[in-house]
């Protein structure tokens, strides 16, 4: 097989398993907070349930199920009549009960999809299933890695954080598509209010990748089951970002193509993505297929969820909102995309578009504000308590009281850097547009002080007018509007 493969063009077939932490107030099976404090003591945010103490029992946090149903709706997935939990049995120090509570044959979501755009092309990525489970604790190897450490510390603060595992179909045909998918998925999850991308470890990805003969891939990306079965599959673990997914898989495509070219078989194995070195490494422990001995968790009765899909509303999603922005505000596709990729940005835009011209608001949010925020590694959430100030600045621009240039480059920047109020900055920098009286006075002075230029103008030299405009601008410290000055001069000299 590999000999024959070596002569053929190869195409990548990729599927993802995405673990996302759900934003609920409390853990999935107990009342401990999911809110990790920066300086919290290890094992301080725990209770008998999430520590797996003898006799403690899990009670399902229905808020986690609600989040899961929202995700299911956003992915256009099927929600079952009832959903149940199973035990996944294995021994590991970060697993307090010796099993993980997860879902097996009745996942909360099945058969969904998510549309992504990659280089202008629309791709529909199938989601086989998405299920709820509990996060294990975290472990820290002291004095080395897992093999060489002197000892290992275990912290159960994270144990019991609700996780959603989203399993796609093998529908990706390039590493770039996985990146686009993850970005889109985050967008959607953020819109749903069930996910916080800024949280450490909130996104964890495993990828499956196989190489198949390119001519066996249909135009629409379809591949037969047989082709897939013939291919050796590699699993790549430890991916934690969109970029990481693209890089790890690009590395794998190259590595596997090289292997095939040299007539070697690609081994069916699990590899670890080493982000700092930019390589995947074979995980040496070549364990046989693990047997998790799944069985139903009797401590959690089946939960009836058949009507939850109707009962639980979800907000407008990014694709719909982008289309509405184009129609409602007359925005370009680019501006609409930029303004809808994050819910916080879109919400801000709509708030400003209600007050100002949609185009002005779009320029302000998409260009000025986002640009300045990105430059400072800030997000919209960092300035939501200063919206009044930002509206004040935009209003001055809209009413011609402040130039757009000064508004962004001086006022906004100093607001963000120094936290000062726009009024104080404008006052301090003397940026207020010169009032009509001041301009008129400056015009009068310029005429009086430059009789030669006036004479030149009157004899038909238009360049002389520009000179006079420059004089007026100088007198007003640049705060006058050049067009207005031009107009006034013409009137005075007529």
């Amino acid at each position: 097989m590999s000999q024959a493969l070596a002569d053929r063009e190869l195409a990548a077939v990729i599927g993802l398993e995405v673990h996302v932490q759900l934003e609920t107030d409390t853990k999935i099976f107990c009342n401990c907070s999911t809110d990790a404090a920066d300086d919290e003591e290890p094992n301080s945010r725990t209770c008998p349930v999430c520590l797996g103490l003898p006799g403690a029992l899990p009670v399902l946090n229905e808020a986690a199920v609600e989040s899961a149903v929202k995700i299911g709706k956003a992915l256009d997935a099927d929600i079952p009549e009832e959903t149940t939990f199973h035990r996944k049995n294995y021994f590991y120090p970060d697993l307090p009960k010796g099993f993980q509570l997860t879902q097996y044959d009745a996942p909360i979501c099945a058969d969904g999809e998510l549309e992504v755009r990659v280089e202008g092309e629309r791709r529909e990525i199938g989601v086989r299933r998405a299920h709820l489970e509990e996060d294990p604790g975290s472990i820290q190897h002291e004095g080395g890695n897992i093999d060489t450490a002197d000892y290992t510390l275990v912290n159960y603060n994270r144990a019991g954080t609700p996780l959603m595992e989203i399993v796609t179909r093998p529908d990706f045909r390039s590493p770039a598509e996985t990146r686009a998918f993850l970005a889109k998925l985050e967008e959607v999850l953020e819109y749903l209010g069930v996910f916080d991308a800024t949280r450490d470890g909130s996104l964890r990805v495993d990828a499956n990748i196989s190489l198949v003969p390119a001519d066996e891939v249909g135009d629409d990306g379809d591949i037969s089951e047989d082709t897939l079965e013939d291919a050796n599959r590699t699993e790549v673990k430890n991916i934690s970002s969109h970029k990481g997914a693209e890089q790890a898989l690009a590395y794998e495509v190259t590595r596997q193509k090289n292997a095939v070219k040299r007539g070697r078989e690609v081994e069916q194995e699990t590899r670890h993505w080493d982000e700092s070195r930019g390589v995947t490494v074979s995980m040496r422990s070549k364990e046989a297929e693990k047997d998790y001995r799944y069985f139903r968790e009797a401590d959690l009765p089946p939960l009836q969820v058949s009507d939850w899909k109707e009962r639980i509303p979800i907000p407008e999603l990014p694709d719909d909102r982008r289309e509405r922005f184009r129609a409602e505000y007359g925005l370009s596709e680019e501006a609409a995309s930029k303004l809808t990729s994050r819910k916080s940005v879109a919400d801000l835009y709509e708030q400003l578009a209600a007050e100002f011209e949609p185009d002005l608001a779009a320029t302000w949010v998409a260009d000025n504000l986002l640009g300045e925020l990105n430059y400072r590694d800030m997000v919209v959430a960092d300035i939501t308590d200063r919206l009044d100030e930002i509206e004040y600045v935009i209003r001055l621009v809209a009413e011609d009281e402040l130039t757009a240039k000064n508004a962004e480059e001086v006022v906004l920047r100093r607001m963000l850097d120094e936290g000062e109020s726009p009024e104080a900055i404008i006052e301090e920098e003397d940026l207020g547009k010169a009032s009509g009286g001041e301009v008129e006075q400056a015009v009068a002075e310029a005429i009086e002080e430059n009789p030669d230029a006036v004479a030149d103008y009157e004899s038909g030299d238009d360049g002389a007018l520009n000179f006079l405009v420059g004089q007026v601008m100088g007198k007003t410290g640049g705060s006058a509007d050049p067009g207005q000055v031009n107009q006034l001069l013409r009137e005075e000299l007529a």
Partner: protein
């Protein structure tokens, strides 16, 4: 007191000043968590483990004014019918100290039978309250699954077990059930049927017009003396106006096999948490090492703790349960056992359509002599034939003394429909 070895830990836990159990002492089986008082499950694995929290039933005992006077001996993790698998030594039967008290709640039943406690709590996974009640000549109730919170009960087989009362009389047992029954937000399997119960009031002995069904399959295999005592008791009930009918439950033939497959499978998972990392015997103690670095990697450390901490019966059940859930055997064992469980439930439903309660000998045999059963686990497992079907069907049952055979107590078991606690209490009280 120490002669019977009914307690693992004798420590007094005071309750509220007044309440329905004020002035009463209660022995609590040592697999029920007590804050600040060791809870060992009869195992070396948990020797010295002190829970930081109270089981819900313990809270309810305290609120009801009870005084807990100790943690009662038991088969290790509830795995046994004799209380001989306890790491802390066997408990003797106060009726005949050459014999076992039954199990696994043998310490609880022995304490009540000997008057060392007024009342006791046990737990019943496959008969562990009813068997020792029968062997010690006291009353024991296995409630409907979900009636009593399991929060704080160290799990052996969590889909089967319930905490249940043991008492000298039916009324006292029912009164203790009234205290512990009722929904609990910390146990999602609990129901509200027991919230405002008054089971004690049902101990009125009035069986006039009650139909008692006897599943012939549960009488056939029993010892002659046991069978004779059983039928005498049924005659007595007929004399009081009850009607007797025979019912047939062919499914119970599969009950012991199904029970052990399910119980062991669940146990293999429930006992996985005992790895020495967070509590209980750790690898350093277990391996007699100087420090953890000698214990090897964590797999080796887990193995050392489990090898040393668990007794042979516990290991047997964990291994068999692991096997029954394994890929390739899962359907053949665990899957089939679940099918049998469904069939048994259906048989009970049909039988309880024909009768108000079902009756059988609680145990098919009189109390074993000490040491008799340890040699052959299968003989022990078969002694559970009459009690395990009830757990598989989630139903309530009570064991009440029905007389003696060769000077040893014989227990009679009444089985009721789901939440039919009042009916079984009423029927049982007619035999006192």
């Amino acid at each position: 007191m120490a002669e019977l070895n009914a307690y693992i830990t004798e420590e007094r836990i005071d309750g509220a000043d007044d309440g329905p159990l004020a002035g009463k002492t209660v022995a609590v089986k040592d697999n029920i968590s007590t804050e600040g008082v060791a809870t060992t499950c009869g195992s070396k694995m948990l020797e010295g483990y002190v829970p930081p929290y109270d089981a819900t039933v313990v809270e309810r005992l305290k609120d009801a004014g009870a005084t807990i006077n100790g943690k009662a001996n038991m088969d290790e993790f509830g795995m046994g019918t004799t209380t001989e698998t306890s790491h802390f030594g066997a408990t003797l039967n106060p009726v005949d100290t050459d014999r076992v008290p039954g199990g696994s709640s043998g310490g609880s039943a022995a304490a009540v039978a000997a008057g060392e406690a007024d009342l006791a709590l046990g737990s019943d996974t496959g008969g562990s309250v009813r068997a020792p009640a029968a062997f010690c000549g006291v009353v024991g109730i296995k409630p409907t699954y979900g009636l009593v919170s399991r929060y704080g009960l160290v799990a052996y087989a969590n889909s089967l077990e319930q905490i249940g009362p043991i008492a000298p009389t039916v009324e006292a047992a029912a009164g203790l059930l009234d205290v512990i029954a009722g929904s609990d937000p910390r146990d999602a399997t609990t129901v509200d049927e027991g919230d405002d119960s008054n089971y004690a009031a049902a101990a009125d002995g009035d069986v006039d017009g009650m139909t008692i069904g006897v599943p012939v399959e549960l009488v056939e295999g029993a010892d002659e003396g046991v069978v004779e005592t059983f039928w005498d008791a049924i005659d007595e009930l007929e004399d009081q106006g009850a009607e007797y009918v025979e019912v047939s439950m062919p499914s119970v033939e599969k009950a012991v096999a199904a029970y052990y497959v399910i119980a062991m499978s669940e146990a293999s998972s429930n006992l996985a948490r005992f790895d020495g990392t967070r509590y209980g015997l750790n690898a350093v103690e277990a391996g007699d090492y100087d420090d953890l670095s000698e214990a090897g990697n964590w797999n080796e450390a887990f193995a050392t703790a489990r090898e040393e901490g668990f007794g042979p019966e516990v290991k047997r059940r964990i291994l068999l349960g692991t096997f029954a859930l394994s890929a390739g055997y899962h359907d053949r064992y665990y899957g089939k056992a679940q099918d049998a469980r469904a069939w048994i439930k259906q048989d009970f439903d049909e039988s309880l359509d024909e009768a108000d309660v079902l009756a059988s000998p609680t145990m098919p045999v009189p109390p074993f002599e000490l040491g008799e059963g340890l040699e052959d686990p299968r003989t022990m497992y078969l002694a559970d034939a009459n009690t395990v079907p009830v757990n598989l069907a989630d139903l309530p049952a009570i064991s009440v003394p029905a007389g003696e055979a060769d000077g040893l107590p014989v227990g009679l078991q009444f089985i009721g429909p789901k939440y039919g606690e009042e009916t079984i209490v009423r029927a049982a009280s007619a035999l006192e």
